[in-house]
């Protein structure tokens, strides 16, 4: 489960702001194992950030899927609350997280906001509940930190 979280970079973030309507977007995310937190960056004007400001509860899934055999499907879904953190990603992450990651995030973000002036924000997800599945087996872990 931890392996899924640390190795996968693309996750799907679900928010629910206006009238409790769900909204899903693919995001580039980083898992900080030491603190058991998830981080991602986004444009402050984006729908996901506006949703989070209305309702901080979020859900994030990272997974791998096998087209041939459903029993090889594997994934992790986390649920928790999102908060905007000050001072950028590098400051927020535990010290031993690679600086290279931060550089990569910069590059990724530059593409995501291409051509549109925007203010970047870093978001931390405080994980409350984790669900892991591999094939038909589910494991659910709740934690209150």
């Amino acid at each position: 489960m931890i392996q899924m979280l640390t190795q996968k970079r693309i996750g799907y973030l679900c928010t629910a702001g206006y009238k409790n309507r769900p909204h899903v977007t693919p995001i580039f995310c980083i898992y900080d194992q030491k603190m058991h937190k998830m981080y991602f960056q986004a444009n402050i004007n984006s729908k996901k950030i506006r949703d989070i400001q209305k309702n901080p509860k979020v859900s994030l899934t990272v997974d791998t899927r096998d087209i041939i055999n459903p029993f090889n499907n594997e994934g992790v879904m986390v649920q928790g609350t999102a908060e905007i953190v000050e001072g950028g990603l590098r400051k927020a992450l535990s010290e031993d997280m690679g600086i290279a990651l931060d550089v990569f995030m910069e590059k990724f973000y530059a593409i995501a906001i291409k051509g549109r002036p925007a203010e970047k924000v870093t978001v931390r997800i405080n994980i409350k509940k984790t669900v892991y599945w591999r094939g038909p087996k589910f494991t659910s872990v709740s934690c209150d930190v």
Partner: protein
């Protein structure tokens, strides 16, 4: 030259008082009263058998109802606004031109019908005139019958003309739409309005029902009217069907949706806690479908809040600019037994699409069914249900640029 093209009957209805002043319902009642009133007077004066009063009521009712039907339909067809380009735009203009042609094709068709019907009534009839009016027929009554026959003929002709052109129009429009490239698309509302008009044209058939008892004793007439009804019904429904199958989304989105194997579906429960999980899915051109175990969290969420977000994306690890994603947001509906019975075609299509898209999955599930937890066994309706997502808004990202398609 911007002269508005109209049907002959519309021009009469617009110039003739008191009908030109009346709103639809009053107009219908006025026409009915005028026609039926004159029928009563004539029948009384010429001692026509009493059962004819009943027949005449059915006939005049249908004619008056068809009049309103024409007066409502014509401006709706002229007013339908679909932003089209190039060939498609020219084609739609051609369709309208033909439908409301200044040469009045619908009137000629009506005259042809009139001659066929009167010819048969007076010369070849199986005794329908005798049944209606007795052995002798006064010329004034004959004149009334001829006027009435013309009214019927003209209205039948318009219905035939409208529905024949509708299916022709939908067939070509669909072909043109299929030739679109990458990001071109047609707003869904445009096609939906056309489909509604086609359904409305089919209501001609309903109005014709009261006429059947009048002509029931004559096999040729009955068969003729049945044939016309069937023609109008089949071409209108056929036209609706063709438009439903026209690919109105940009081909780029179709490629993404048809080529991707998995989607992520987001739901939210009553405490506003979002939930997102991967799922397999199929797309029937209009709705998205996915299968869910009856005990899953997403199904519980959908039952509490039917709003869902459904994302399908493709990622290129070499070049992030090639990433594409399409987000469908809308309402989800769990298809229960009742829906399976009321929308059998939809459910059948969805199941067939699943079989075609995930043959390995279906085989694997079937082979290992015994060893699976109950929630994963593919027993339709009992442990796995089909969920229908009806999109209300579609957002498409290509090269990090969003494009919003409202429904």
């Amino acid at each position: 030259m911007t002269r508005e093209m109209k049907w002959a009957y519309e021009i009469i209805a617009e110039t003739l008082p008191p009908f030109k002043w009346l709103p639809p319902v009053q107009n219908f009642l006025a026409q009915l009263m005028l026609m039926y009133g004159s029928a009563i007077l004539l029948f009384y004066y010429f001692h026509v058998p009493e059962h004819m009063l009943l027949y005449a009521f059915a006939g005049t009712f249908a004619v008056a109802a068809w009049s309103i039907f024409l007066l409502q339909l014509a401006p709706s067809i002229r007013g339908v606004n679909i932003p089209l380009e190039g060939h498609e735009k020219e084609f739609l203009a051609k369709y309208r031109m033909l439908l409301f042609h200044p040469r009045r094709y619908e009137l000629y068709l009506g005259i042809v019908f009139f001659f066929i019907i009167t010819g048969y009534l007076l010369l070849g009839s199986g005794g329908l005139m005798q049944l209606w009016f007795g052995p002798t027929l006064h010329p004034v009554l004959l004149f009334f019958v001829l006027v009435f026959t013309f009214d019927v003929s003209y209205r039948v002709a318009v219905a035939v003309w409208v529905s024949a052109l509708a299916i022709w129009r939908s067939l070509w429009l669909k072909r043109y739409i299929e030739r679109r490239e990458s990001m071109e698309y047609i707003p869904h509302t445009g096609l939906r309005n056309l489909r509604r008009l086609d359904l409305y044209s089919a209501s001609f058939v309903l109005v014709s029902i009261p006429i059947f008892p009048t002509i029931w004793s004559d096999k040729v007439f009955t068969a003729g009217l049945l044939f016309v009804d069937l023609f109008v019904l089949l071409s209108s429904i056929g036209s609706v069907f063709l438009l439903r199958r026209a690919p109105w989304l940009p081909p780029d989105i179709y490629d993404l949706v048809y080529n991707s194997k998995f989607a992520h579906v987001g739901t939210s429960d009553e405490s506003m806690t979002p939930h997102v999980v991967p799922t397999s899915y199929v797309f029937d051109g209009m709705d998205l479908f996915f299968m869910s175990s009856v005990v899953s969290k997403k199904l519980k969420n959908i039952k509490a809040n039917d709003r869902v977000a459904f994302i399908i994306d493709s990622r290129d690890s070499e070049n992030l600019l090639n990433n594409k994603a399409v987000l469908f947001t809308g309402r989800a509906k769990v298809l229960g037994l009742f829906d399976v019975l009321s929308h059998p075609l939809k459910v059948y299509t969805a199941r067939k699409l699943f079989m075609g898209k995930y043959p390995e999955y279906v085989r694997k599930y079937a082979a290992e069914k015994k060893n699976l937890p109950k929630a994963w066994q593919l027993t339709p309706m009992i442990s796995r249900v089909l969920v229908d997502v009806q999109p209300e808004k579609i957002v498409y990202w290509r090269k990090a640029e969003p494009m919003i398609l409202p429904m």
